[in-house]
Amino acid sequence: MISFTKRRVVESDVCIIGSGISAAMVAQKLARTTKGKIVVVEAGDEAPALAKRYALRERFKSYGESPWPDDHLDGYEIDGPLQSRSMQVGGLAMHWGGVTPRWSPEDFRSRSLFGVGTDWPISYDDLDPYYQEAEEIIGVAGEQGPSSIDPRSKPFPMPAIPLTYNLGLLKEWTTQAGITMWSQPAAKNSRPYDGRNECCRNDTCSPICPIGAKYSPDLTWDRLRKANRITLYPRTMVRRLVLDERSSRIVSAEAMQRGAGSGAGTPVEFRAKQFVIAAGYAWSAHLLLLSRSSRAPNGLANQSGTVGKYLAGHRSQQAYLALPMRLYPGMSAHHSLLSKQFMRAPSGDKYLRHDLRVWESSVGREPRLRDDAGTPLLGDAIMKDWRERTKTGVARVRAYYDVIPDRSSELTLDATRRNAWGDPLPKLAFRDAPESAALRGYSNETLRALFAKMARAGGGTVLSGASGEGSGWQDHPAGGCRMGTDPATSVVDAWGRTHDHENLFVVGAPTCVSASCANATLTFCALALRSAEELAR
């Protein structure tokens, strides 16, 4: 018997592919500024409801279990450092730390100012209003740093999360060390905001906030769905975009309904006037490359040959410093101090820009089973040894430093690994541009020297240090569909519109030209909101 699987057709004005934080920004803005029909397509499942998150958090705390069970697709183990396997409604921002610094004005003009990298087609000033808009949508609590190194045109929507007692002491120490630090801005409510709870320092922000005090995209999706402003299709994998036969417009997105329930395996065709790829740095470029055809043999939006190229991120140096002060670890391991004073002009004659953060830490101060002489310890002896070692405190310090991306830092299709539908999986490799590679030793040495100087200023010592270079991984990955004014060297324009297809946008992380030296999500949100403005025109 032959069975036919019926194709389902969904029509809309705007079809957004992906449901992470950038998608949520675009959808929210379009829902507010247009009357069009918006559909959102997500390959992963629904995230557990807020009411279930305390219980999920308990399992995480007690057993290390994922608080987002089944938030992945089977068969997606890929070659190279993927940021996260997570794929669900809300994307990676379901388990982000909620850390939201803005980038620095210099990040957008590194070629003009320092002779390295590539200038963005937009400036910090262009992005400033969208940073503000993003901060207001997701609810950022922040403290204005010195305006000379932390420029912004309007105040934060919420006062900063207060410094803990520990961070207060650590701030005094960093001031002694000649470093100006302030409270790290965060997408966490320092007061009830936008119908959500005030943060109460549950301190498991990443991977899970149990009370919704930290912004996560599901909150936006819940609201937009309740208002009937969007239709969200979970468990629906977009496999390729289809080019119109007579023009450069995209006519549809071909998808497949996943899972084991009713409708599983049903092909779905999404037709729309405009398509928005909001699938992060990896899956956005991957979809464009998968969408190759006789008219676009290298994939869509890829006349420049740069789709998947110039993957960007930053490296880090970290150290734990023993300090002669009584700290109380556990007050808040997630909240930190921030300094941007090293994000501006390089302090030496070589190009090194970095952020600096300081946290409380218990590293080197944990209870242990043997003392320094190797003698085994039991209860009373463990507690006595622990108390003795915690009379002084430990600070964790970390600096992300800017890495100039190389063209060969890339996502390609892996002919050797395929998903359940036979589509090649992506393969990832991060590589520094030669100028960054040549400076890596200098960068690491300079940062280690800074940490040692900080320790000395507080009468302390460096306990241990580490660099985040392990597996070729670069943190807060971006790029792969970088923006630019020249269609020969970039994938999208300054608004995220692809140079090759007038009705196809890529938004957020993939459009970044570089990745600064600080957490990136707020910048992805600001870029997505800027794209949404153009989409609405």
Partner: protein
């Protein structure tokens, strides 16, 4: 000759044929055993947990450890790492191993003192525990579920808790508990007398 218990039989069967059904039944049998004869585990708690907790809080901690064991889910998806697409899952239940180790402590008590483990003095119990741990070289507290010996698991379970952290610092830090933001700028209050003893 002593017969093989149902628990031991199921543990051996699950090790030899690790199908989900056998593993689940072996885990359940070990949990039943731990719940059904809590004396050895409680006596172990009194030997290895800090004495300043007092008997009632030691018992409460041991009971909490039993609940932890009962709640263990073999094969549960663990939290994802960053920078990798690899996934990890919870390993085989430790309950069967720990239950066997409690049997061994009982046998050692009978051999050395001809009395049950729970009937020994704290010093005698500690000596037997030290002997049992001779082959384990851990310096750091292992994750509870990966503790190679039940005594280490009991230690790890307590010392990784927010209560242990408070006891060490003799302050109400209340790590990972919901706490008003406003109070966090102040030095944590000292532990109340009831919490310390």
């Amino acid at each position: 000759m002593r017969g093989v218990s149902r628990r031991t039989f199921l543990a051996a069967l699950a090790a030899a044929v690790p199908t989900a059904s056998f593993v689940r039944r072996a885990h359940a049998a070990a949990v039943d055993d731990l719940v059904g004869r809590p004396e050895t585990l409680r006596a172990l708690g009194e030997a290895v947990l800090p004495s300043e907790l007092g008997r009632a809080r030691i018992t409460a901690n041991v009971d909490g450890f039993q609940r932890w064991i009962a709640g263990y889910r073999e094969g549960a998806e663990l939290v994802h790492g960053y920078g990798t697409s690899k996934l990890t899952w919870a390993g085989p239940t430790p309950a069967t191993r720990w239950s066997t180790q409690l049997d061994e402590l009982e046998r050692a008590a009978q051999r050395a003192h001809a009395r049950p483990f729970a009937a020994l003095s704290i010093a005698q119990r500690q000596e037997l525990v030290r002997l049992a741990l001779v082959d384990f070289k851990e310096e750091r507290m292992p994750p509870v579920g990966r503790s190679p010996h039940v005594a280490l698991a009991l230690l790890a379970h307590f010392f990784s808790s927010d209560a242990a952290n408070d006891l060490c610092y003799e302050a109400q830090i209340l790590r990972e508990n919901c706490r008003p933001l406003a109070m966090s700028s102040r030095k944590p209050l000292p532990l109340a007398a009831t919490r310390r003893s």
